[in-house]
């Protein structure tokens, strides 16, 4: 620790602190323009000048100067004030000062400091910049005339996002921030650069001219897309969500968001929202009153109940809050007597609800998000972890670049993570993951790299036995890797002091289920890498409340039907009433034809959603539900974090929150009183769900609570066979596109601007063999169907492998798939 004096105040700070940090710790504010706590110090703007007595009163930047013992600092002498004024005058020289039409006004550091330092005249004159404004993309407007060259955009895009879209171009007076070839911006559109730009040089176009900054009210809540659980601040005016607001102090991610979180909010106030209930009359869905719709639903549910409950079933999205899921489960299990309830077709929760539960004794990750930056070796299963959970991707970037984390990507294709400094990517054959991880386990056992503690975990002998057939030499070919690579990876993993495995889940990744999770947990258990900081397996649920849905037990138990059996039941006529809450099986479950046939067949289909989805179009009754912005409750994200979701606006149209609808149905069907409010349900959850014991709704606070995991681990052998290729066919892999999450992001304009439709990504080699170039239409044909998708040629795809995102309703890839990890397809032009 170092002691120093700032403005006559004694301060003690760690020795790597800067004067700026020290002042901040002492509650003294030093103005900054180019400094950002998340970025490496830059020292470019000289706004933070201070005087240090030992340096004979020289003016030095506080943001880059480290503290030294006994330093005496003054932050606001008349000379300093003068110098800062001068900095501002020089910045204003070129700046257009068009505050009246600038969206940043009110949130602009330059404007605020100019006001604070009363710079009402300029001693200098100069010509203004004449840069062309970049309006080429629909999300980010770049007006370099307003740029003050703080470099924050270029630094954040490099240091945290690792995209590197910007650089300083030219030299001297001509210098400016630009992209490669000084062209229009075409990037990931995460918006990080917009969020840190201190002025109005980078602006959110969807928010342009929507509201003055000071007219917005703010509500803090949690993003409703992926399982990362990023905190959001919504900017609201006149009952509408107009933007997301950057708050550098929010959440583990310091306010960083991905393109979905930042720009996907538009679905909330989309004009496609359902605003009234609909009832099918004469084959057509027509508007109806809530009374009429609810009584039709109740009638069906009552008759199912009378018949014993088994004829009713439910498919629900893990986007609902814990409280909603809990009430829904009670509606089915308790009120109706049906165990037929499931979510995400099983594919997106099996790793947790079956894999982790059996292997660890609880259905969750043993690790937390904080472990990513604390580990030494990070083994990421599938490069897609960046696409499914982009802000966790930022955490990986930071771990690799700032903390020297050794990144190993084990994937069926390369990806953005592969480009990180010193990252090693092992490209294996599609669907061979379990083989590969079993072979690693065998190496660890064979080379005596097993941790001493492993012998006390039950099942070790069975595991050893089960691994007989997985010698690296034996599986190497089926994995498409060399035996040496497998051996080295196993050794490095075992020998690392701390190692963390990351496993993304999702409807697009049917191979990421029970066996894969168990093979990975076995590796961690064998090497003693569970239950320690920076260790374990981070199983990343796909949706905002995927972990919560598992915590609430929203998967079949006691002989209930799972999603596949429910749809089979619909087709066979044993399931007569299907209640679909927020799910869109027609697009997101495998085998579209079979799903559609089942839904067409079921006697009574109730769909509760925000939109008239492909599934809702088939319903007998459609109930309009609310978005996350219109509700209170909790989500549980990756790493078991329970966080509060806060209502920002009133329900759109006549829509009602899922909570309100389900609460009423539950009370009616169970013939009991409805819950008083969400908090009352949470109280019951904490009594009934052991993991949530002792946690109170009010006590969740701003950053939520991580529920404590405890269980008895054991080794469970994981089955992994070689995937048999089919000659002349391509291996089709489905998955997530960076800008999308499930099928909901299709209703956010932002993600749709950037990625409006599905595509088939293939290697240059395959493209030239097929004689296709970007955007040519390809026909993909599998045993179950055929779709036509635009080609996207990319260097990351191995030969013979095609990737297609699963989010889109038109030419949806689930027409081709049936739930196998790999689908073999014929491809033609």
């Amino acid at each position: 620790m170092v002691n120093l004096t700032i403005d006559d105040k004694q301060v003690t700070v760690p020795k790597d602190a800067t004067i700026y940090d020290a002042a901040k710790a002492a509650g003294i504010r030093i103005p900054i323009l180019c400094h950002d706590k998340k970025l490496h110090p830059f020292g470019g703007c000289r706004m933070c000048l201070v005087e240090v007595e030992q340096m004979k009163g020289r003016q030095i930047p506080a943001c880059t100067t480290p503290v030294t013992e006994g330093m005496i600092v003054r932050t606001s002498t008349p000379d300093i004030i003068q110098a800062r004024k001068m900095v501002l005058e020089l910045l204003l020289l070129k700046h257009p000062i068009d505050c009246p039409v600038c969206d940043a006004a009110g949130d602009c550091d330059l404007q605020n400091l100019t006001y604070e330092y009363k710079v009402n005249a300029n001693r200098f004159t100069d010509e203004k910049f004449q840069h062309k404004i970049d309006y080429e993309n629909p999300l980010i407007e770049r007006d370099m005339n307003r740029c003050i060259h703080c470099g924050k955009c270029a630094r954040i895009c490099d240091e945290i996002v690792s995209y590197g879209a910007y650089s300083f171009l030219n030299r001297g007076l001509e210098a400016k921030i630009g992209t490669e070839f000084d062209g229009p911006l075409n990037c990931e559109f995460c918006g990080s650069c917009v969020s840190v730009c201190p002025v109005g040089a980078l602006l959110s176009r969807p928010f342009k001219f929507k509201a003055r900054w000071w007219a917005l009210s703010k509500t803090k809540t949690v993003c409703s897309y992926c399982g990362t659980g990023c905190q959001l601040t919504l900017g609201i005016k006149d009952g509408k969500v107009l933007t997301t607001i950057y708050d550098e102090n929010q959440g583990f991610h310091n306010g960083q968001l991905c393109t979905r979180g930042r720009w996907g909010y538009q679905f909330v106030n989309s004009d496609k929202r359902l605003t009234t209930p609909l009832i099918r009359k004469n084959g057509k869905l027509v508007q109806a009153s809530w009374e009429e719709a609810l009584s039709a639903v109740k009638e069906r549910l009552f008759s199912a109940k009378t018949a014993g409950g088994e004829s009713a079933a439910c498919l629900v999205t893990p986007r609902l809050t814990n409280e909603e899921l809990f009430v829904l489960k009670k509606l089915f299990n308790v009120a109706l007597g049906s165990q037929n309830i499931d979510h995400s077709a099983g594919y997106a929760h099996n790793a947790l609800s079956a894999g982790a539960l059996e292997s660890l004794g609880y259905a969750a990750s043993p690790s937390t998000i904080a472990d990513i930056q604390k580990t030494n070796l990070l083994l990421v299963v599938k490069s897609d972890a960046y696409e499914t959970h982009p802000v966790l991707g930022f955490e990986i970037n930071l771990g690799v670049k700032r903390k020297g984390v050794d990144l190993r990507v084990v994937s069926d294709k390369r990806g953005k993570l592969s480009r990180l400094p010193d990252a090693t990517t092992y490209v294996h054959k599609p669907g061979s993951e379990v083989l590969l991880f079993n072979a690693m386990a065998r190496v660890i056992i064979g080379e005596n790299l097993v941790d001493a503690g492993a012998s006390s975990i039950s099942g070790l002998a069975e595991l050893k036995n089960s691994l007989q057939g997985y010698a690296p030499e034996k599986v190497a070919e089926a994995c498409g890797m060399s035996a040496d690579e497998i051996i080295v990876l196993a050794r490095d993993y075992a020998k690392a002091e701390k190692a963390l495995i990351m496993l993304p889940l999702g409807l697009g990744y049917p191979g990421h289920g029970k066996d894969l999770a168990q093979a990975l947990i076995n590796l961690a258990l064998l090497t003693g890498k569970i239950g320690k900081e920076g260790c374990g397996v981070l199983i990343m649920g796909e949706k905002n409340n995927s972990q919560g849905a598992v915590d609430m037990g929203v998967y079949p138990a006691k002989g209930g039907k799972d999603a596949v059996a429910i749809l089979d039941g619909c087709a066979a006529g044993t399931v007569k009433t299907l209640y679909v809450v927020g799910e869109n099986p027609v697009v997101s479950y495998p085998n579209r034809k079979a799903v559609e046939a089942a839904l067409d067949k079921v006697e009574f289909l109730i769909v509760q959603d925000l939109f008239l989805t492909e599934t809702a179009e088939k319903a007998h009754v459609v109930l309009p539900a609310c978005s996350f912005a219109e509700k209170d409750g909790t989500f549980t994200s990756v790493g078991k974090v329970i966080q509060r979701v806060n209502r920002a606006i009133a329900p759109v149209g006549l829509s009602r929150s899922d909570f309100e609808i389900l609460n009423a149905l539950y009370a009616a069907c169970a013939n009991t009183q409805p819950y008083a409010d969400v908090a009352a349900v949470f109280a019951e959850i904490s009594e009934n769900v052991p993991a949530y014991k002792g946690i109170s709704y009010a006590g969740l606070g701003e950053n939520g609570v991580i529920w404590p995991a405890g269980g008895t681990p054991r080794f469970v052998p994981a089955e992994g066979g070689a995937v048999q290729g089919e000659s002349g066919k391509y291996a089709l892999l489905t998955g997530s596109a960076l800008n999308h999450c499930g099928t909901l992001s299709r209703f956010g304009e932002g993600p749709m601007y950037v990625c409006p439709a599905g595509y088939a990504e293939l290697s240059y080699t395959d493209a030239s063999a097929l004689k296709v170039k970007n955007d040519d239409l390809l026909t993909l044909k599998s045993a179950s169907g055929e779709v036509r998708l635009k080609a996207k040629v990319s260097a990351r795809m191995p030969q013979g492998v095609i990737f297609a995102p699963y989010h889109f309703g038109e030419e949806s890839v689930n027409t081709l798939t049936t739930g196998a990890p790999v689908t073999w397809v014929n491809v033609s032009k």
């Binding site: 910007y166 171009l169 490669e180 070839f181 075409n186 480009r419 260097a795």
Partner: protein
């Protein structure tokens, strides 16, 4: 979907073999970006766009940063350069001696403006500041050859002369 720009298809048709060779040579060298870019410029006479994408991909550097380097140093050119670089001084002494007429005559005869290259890649024309030989004002240079006391007639002679010269180095 990784949207990395280096993974997009190149648009300009160019033989990348030489560029690949240059990259191979410096691949393991620490701080290899500058020598690679210089090598490419020497080889192609400028730094073609596809080579920037290639360097970005192979050295794992952002294309934007490469572009930043290329625009920072005056030695790099992003467009093909002429076989013969004509420079006309417009410094004070030359200006007083009528440099602007010389400039305009070149513009007229070659149909190219400042910092432009003729479509046949024979000439690149540049106006420059004082070349340090004010006694010979107005001054012009073609590659390394200096031409003093320029007149409109001399411009015509120079063009006629260089029109005959070979395009190969």
């Amino acid at each position: 979907m990784s949207n990395a720009p280096a993974e997009q298809t190149p648009t300009e048709e160019i033989d990348l073999a030489a560029a690949n060779h240059i990259i191979d040579k410096y691949l393991t060298l620490h701080g290899n970006l500058m020598p690679v870019l210089q090598g490419i410029q020497d080889e192609y006479g400028y730094v073609p766009k596809p080579t920037i994408d290639l360097v970005a991909e192979r050295l794992n550097v952002y294309p934007s940063q490469i572009f930043g380097v290329l625009t920072f140093y005056a030695q790099f050119h992003l467009k093909p350069r002429g076989r013969y670089i004509i420079r006309v001084c417009v410094g004070t002494a030359c200006h007083v001696q009528g440099a602007s007429r010389i400039v305009e005559t070149f513009f007229d005869k070659l149909h190219i403006g400042h910092a432009e290259t003729s479509p046949d890649l024979r000439y690149t024309f540049e106006k420059v500041a004082c070349l340090g030989a004010c006694g010979m004002a107005p001054l012009a240079m073609v590659n390394d050859a200096t031409y003093g006391s320029m007149t409109v007639q001399k411009v015509e002679q120079i063009i006629a002369d260089y029109n005959q010269r070979p395009m190969k180095k």
